[in-house]
């Protein structure tokens, strides 16, 4: 029987491809292998999907998921789990009828996929399953340069990082520029009984392959699956609605960090008024099969406005899908001083008591945090995670110094000011040399 704190069904059903074509276990790895030697080796340019699916790398991953040894690379989910949040691991396991609470073991015994999991254990990690869920980056072109993003995900941010001397190289990484690789991959997708396909950034809506992909599925009448993508909400997508209406289900992940002026600082290059206006427009014009979820990466900056964002999600009936920042480490919430954390704890506790009175009917333990009908439970869980994220102590003076120095450098280059956007942190930054 696998370990309930480690098991994850992703290596049996989902494939993740990074911006440069490298394969990763999923998008929630602590460190993606983009632009590494491993990324050059385990790459769609070298291994077609079907070969990679039975590769040594994925076999080992399946065996590890069946063991008691956690993969250090799965740090994002481990961090989410430690906060009591709804990690991707937990959400994906539900698709194999694996419950995330005390019933994990019993539900594993009864899982419709137990035989597939145990087959891998008995056959050196090989699998009888096929990838039916894809998590794709089509490249690193993005018109924003968000401060908590990876330079691998935004060419624009990579340029800033390079100008500051934080990285040596900034390049366009789009694996989809290779026409033959792209054509082969499209053929694979059309031959697959897709269950879900999720496109991440860069910014998909400004990537020509994103539009080609939608057109390909529509033209081939292969739309009987859940199609989703994450966008920075800075672009009009009215031209997509008729096409998206053809899909079984569509989910649009909307990247928002705060709902005030400070979002423009964090999501550099965006404009909060345009963003909120676009989101309202999306809601008004989307076909009925389109659902929305707000995607956040709470950091030591944005956690200060997080309760406001959660309230806004409640007002708009939006789910939140968050990843509390682990990388860059210098933006982790734990670095905040206790004085700020104590204030935030009070704020989240008050919010929790308000929300709990709104939610009296849902069965504890039986919540799908991706279900639109479960918004209040989703937001309660999010508030619990936010509260856990501001646990006292655990500061790291070296990282705090790095944080202040890097924001100082970034602000100097961008002619911006972190303390003007987050005045509650003025003392923290200035006492650390900002």
């Amino acid at each position: 029987m696998p370990n309930k704190d480690i098991f994850c069904n992703i290596p049996w059903y989902e494939l993740h491809i990074n911006h440069d074509g490298s394969y990763d276990l999923c998008g929630c790895m602590s460190k993606l292998i983009t632009q590494t030697d491993a990324g050059q080796e385990w790459n769609i340019k070298n291994y077609p999907v079907e070969d990679y699916w039975q590769s040594r790398r994925l076999r080992d991953e399946r065996l590890q998921k069946m063991s008691d040894t956690p993969n250090p690379a799965c740090g994002v989910c481990q961090h989410q789990d430690s906060l009591g949040s709804h990690s991707k691991r937990i959400k994906e396991n539900l698709k194999s009828v694996l419950f995330y609470d005390r019933n994990f073991y019993k539900s594993f015994e009864q899982s419709p996929h137990r035989a597939a999991f145990e087959y891998s254990l008995a056959n050196d990690g090989a699998t009888v399953t096929r990838p039916v869920s894809y998590h794709l980056s089509l490249g690193n072109e993005c018109d924003l340069a968000c401060v908590m993003c990876s330079p691998n995900s935004s060419f624009k941010l990579a340029n800033d990082y390079k100008a500051l001397g934080w990285i040596k190289d900034s390049r366009r990484l789009n694996w989809t520029d290779d026409q033959q690789v792209w054509d082969n991959f499209c053929s694979t997708l059309l031959a697959t009984d897709l269950v879900s396909l999720h496109i991440i950034g860069g910014e998909p809506t400004i990537n020509k392959r994103f539009h080609q992909l939608i057109d390909l599925f529509v033209a081939n009448d292969r739309t009987d699956f859940s199609f989703s993508f994450t966008t920075n909400c800075m672009h009009n997508i009215d031209h997509l609605w008729d096409k998206l209406a053809r899909f079984k289900r569509v989910e649009i992940g909307m990247s928002v960090e705060t709902v005030n002026f400070s979002n423009d600082y964090v999501r550099y290059g965006s404009d909060i008024d345009t963003l909120l206006s676009n989101i309202a427009h999306f809601k008004d014009h989307a076909p009925e099969n389109v659902a929305f979820v707000v995607r956040t990466v709470p950091t030591l900056l944005t956690i200060n406005y997080y309760s406001q964002l959660i309230d806004w999600c409640l007002d708009n009936d939006f789910l939140i899908d968050s990843y509390f920042a682990t990388d860059p480490a210098w933006q982790q919430i734990r670095l905040l001083p206790d004085s700020v954390k104590i204030h935030l704890q009070t704020e989240f506790q008050v919010q929790l008591s308000r929300y709990t009175t709104l939610s009296q009917s849902r069965i504890k333990g039986l919540t799908n945090f991706r279900n639109q009908a479960h918004v209040i439970e989703n937001l309660i869980s999010e508030t619990h995670a936010a509260l856990a994220s501001v646990a006292l102590g655990n500061q790291d003076p070296d990282l705090a110094a790095e944080c202040v120095l890097k924001f100082k450098q970034l602000d100097s280059m961008r002619n911006n000011s972190v303390v003007k956007n987050f005045p509650m942190l003025q003392q923290y930054f200035e006492s650390n040399g900002y």
Binding site: N9, K95, V97, N103, Q110, R130, S226, L366, N368
Partner: protein, 147 residues
């Protein structure tokens, strides 16, 4: 495949003097418990069931017309059973309030959990139970078994 299942059902009586409801509890029409219900009680089941369709039933068997005391259209006293709560594998399963069917003898069926006349209240479910809970609670899609 056979799997074990933990089930609790809480019954609350309505009665007076020496008039208390007689009940039985059955799983797949097999008697699990029976008696006179004089106070609220939670019954625990730990059963092993083959994969497939099943039911749990609560029967009410000893009501007569004179058990209901009415004066000027107001019920002064009555004999009945209230199905108060169900838990499945530790989860309080509130959906039973509209998923179960109460079939009183000679009267139309309903989803009421207030058993006011002789008859049987039945909750149908399937096993594996976690798949059933997943589906009834709309926990999202499930990858097909033979992908």
């Amino acid at each position: 495949m056979a799997t074990s299942l933990q089930f609790t059902i809480t019954l609350k009586p309505v009665g007076y003097a020496d008039r208390w409801p007689e009940f039985y509890l059955a799983m797949d029409n097999k008697l699990q418990d029976e008696g006179i219900l004089k106070e609220e009680h939670t019954y625990n089941f730990d059963v092993t069931l083959d994969d497939g369709a099943h039911s749990i039933g609560v029967g009410f068997t000893n009501k007569v017309d004179t058990d209901t005391v009415v004066n000027d259209n107001e019920i002064l006293a009555d004999k009945a059973i209230i199905v108060e709560q169900i838990t499945i594998e530790g989860y309080e399963f509130k959906d039973f309030l509209y998923r179960a069917v109460y079939t009183p003898v000679g009267r139309p069926k309903s989803h009421s959990n207030y058993l006011s006349w002789n008859g049987e209240w039945t909750l149908e479910f399937t096993t594996p139970i976690f798949t059933w809970l997943h589906q009834t609670q709309q926990l999202g899609w499930i990858y097909e078994k033979n992908l």
